[in-house]
Symmetry: C2
Subunit: 332 residues, 2 copies
């Protein structure tokens, strides 16, 4: 039903080759250009991307493989990745791994069958085996946020360990000695932040008793339950580091509910700034991730690989973070 290049040919008397050349930005005589443009307008012609894809072997679509599409973090990354891709004319075919490695592995194969030009991954698994089929098919891959242990892939993330180490100075320099951590345990980021925390404490000569270390899932429940537990200890910590957005949110609700005040009763340091935290009083010290930059750099890198401009070995890009200062930390 919709007009094809053949209709343009009939209308203008030009050959398919010439029209195709015009469509792809090649040089065409001014008079022919006019003819073609008129015909396109008249017939409401639009390129059939499917047909084009068949011969160019490109779909102008990238696959996005996310550990969970329900996570607010995922939502923010998708927002920026999506914008950057659209600007370059690419679309996003998104698949949800539902925090399940088996589904994740299946999804990779699905994306291959869809002939995506590249894949951006927020992985569930810690090892890269599941990406092998895509790698073998020659599809460029870029990871965001979470690095993989065994195989080398491009990755755009922050330096979780250093960011945490650095942020911890805010608590330590204000003479806090009893500092607890609530962190996720399963993913790369949670583990790295835990390591940064422990390093900072060790370097400051501070001990972290095991009951000050709450390590569980990446969830509001973890923050809520963790803080509840910490607040009932006979020897309560004076400061708490929370390793991500969900945990921070849950911990704050628990703290409020338990009747403690920040920073009077407990000083807080969180991770993953979100707009709404700015509304709160007191304002929480927060490690702020450059979400926009991460999304954009990842897209830039991926498109570079797709076009063949970037050919060097896989790179690991660690972007800097910003510490959003607040008044949630009391000087002891």
């Amino acid at each position: 039903m919709p007009a094809t290049i053949v209709d343009i040919k009939k209308k203008t008397g030009l050959s398919l080759a010439t029209i195709s050349k015009y469509l792809n930005g090649g040089n065409v005589l001014p008079e022919n250009k006019v003819k073609i443009e008129a015909a396109i307008k008249e017939l409401h012609y639009e390129v059939n991307e499917i047909a084009r894809g068949l011969v160019t072997n490109k779909t102008r679509t990238v696959g996005i493989l996310v550990f969970s599409i329900e996570s607010p973090f995922t939502g923010m990354i998708l927002h920026h990745v999506g914008a950057a891709l659209r600007k370059s004319g690419y679309g996003m075919l998104i698949v949800d791994s539902c925090d399940d490695e088996a589904i994740e592995a299946k999804n990779v194969k699905y994306l291959i069958s869809k002939k995506v030009d590249g894949i951006i991954v927020l992985p569930v698994a810690s090892k890269g085996d599941f990406l092998a089929p895509a790698k073998n098919a020659g599809i460029p891959i870029v990871l965001i946020d979470r690095s993989l242990s065994d195989i080398q892939y491009d990755c755009v993330r922050i330096d979780n360990r250093k960011s945490t180490y650095h942020a911890m100075k805010e608590l330590i320099s204000r003479n806090h000695k009893k500092i607890a951590i609530i962190a996720s345990e399963r993913e790369y980021t949670g583990r790295e932040r835990y390591n940064g925390f422990m390093e900072a404490m060790r370097d400051a000569g501070l001990d972290v008793p095991v009951e000050y270390q709450v390590r569980a899932t990446h969830s509001i429940a973890t923050g809520y339950n963790g803080m509840k537990k910490l607040m009932t200890l006979k020897d309560r910590p004076t400061g708490v580091f929370m390793s991500n957005y969900e945990i921070t949110l849950g911990a704050m609700l628990a703290m409020n509910e338990a009747g403690f005040k920040c920073p009077d009763d407990v000083s807080l340091l969180g991770f993953d700034d979100q707009l709404f935290f700015h509304l709160l009083q007191p304002q929480i010290y927060m490690v702020e991730q450059p979400m926009k930059a991460m999304g954009e750099r990842a897209v830039e890198l991926l498109l570079g690989r797709i076009s063949g401009v970037v050919v060097e070995d896989p790179v690991e890009i660690a972007l800097g973070t910003r510490l959003q200062k607040g008044n949630s930390i009391r000087t002891l």
Copy 2:
């Protein structure tokens, strides 16, 4: 590089037509079936969906047009819609309208150019004009959550007005007279819930002074600022209805921060249950939307339209809600 149907032909000596028939579930002699299957395994053959799409004029991909990909509500819907689609072999090409009607209109055209088989929309706009190009192109469309005023499209949603009206009985029957509302104003759902609220109050013979009506955006900030404001009134409301998840979250933080207790100082009734609310003490009365059912019904309907099984006029499916009971409402 990857094997094609022609390679299978060479290997088996059968014709393209026969092999294609096998691939699409047609009847083939048992001996040929064996041959083909062996060849497929040996050559690691997989159908090229692009080539198939060119001739069938189907992409097995549906476009998902969301008002904002950052919203948790969107995330949950995408989760269920995605699962249902994948089960039927369909993929999701997601585009983000960034709460901007102009972008939304462009995105529709983009999805058309990508030849999606259908479109699922969580709209920004209140009128349906922007969908006209897709409708004209014969692409089936199903709305989720938000209905459109002018043109008729299939829509799967809840009955916002009734749900709110019914839930309000919890406050009213417990003798609350001074009840405030914090609601979003711009979208369909917020307006309908406002209407349901006002109806319930009117039917109960209760007045709602203008300072008890906070109407702003669909955001945590609205809830936070709204509750802050309500709590500083000299004549404070005894009950507050909050029209969605973000507003409920913001309002609770503000209430905690202002030092008020629920239900002692203020009784709360919210909308959009999320798992983590179950953790809270007190547990909030919440209108719970059937997210999974909404996603699944929408997909079912869309695939029905795509396959031509469903041909009747556009339908508006209003699913029932559940009131999640809690202990956030005090009897006066």
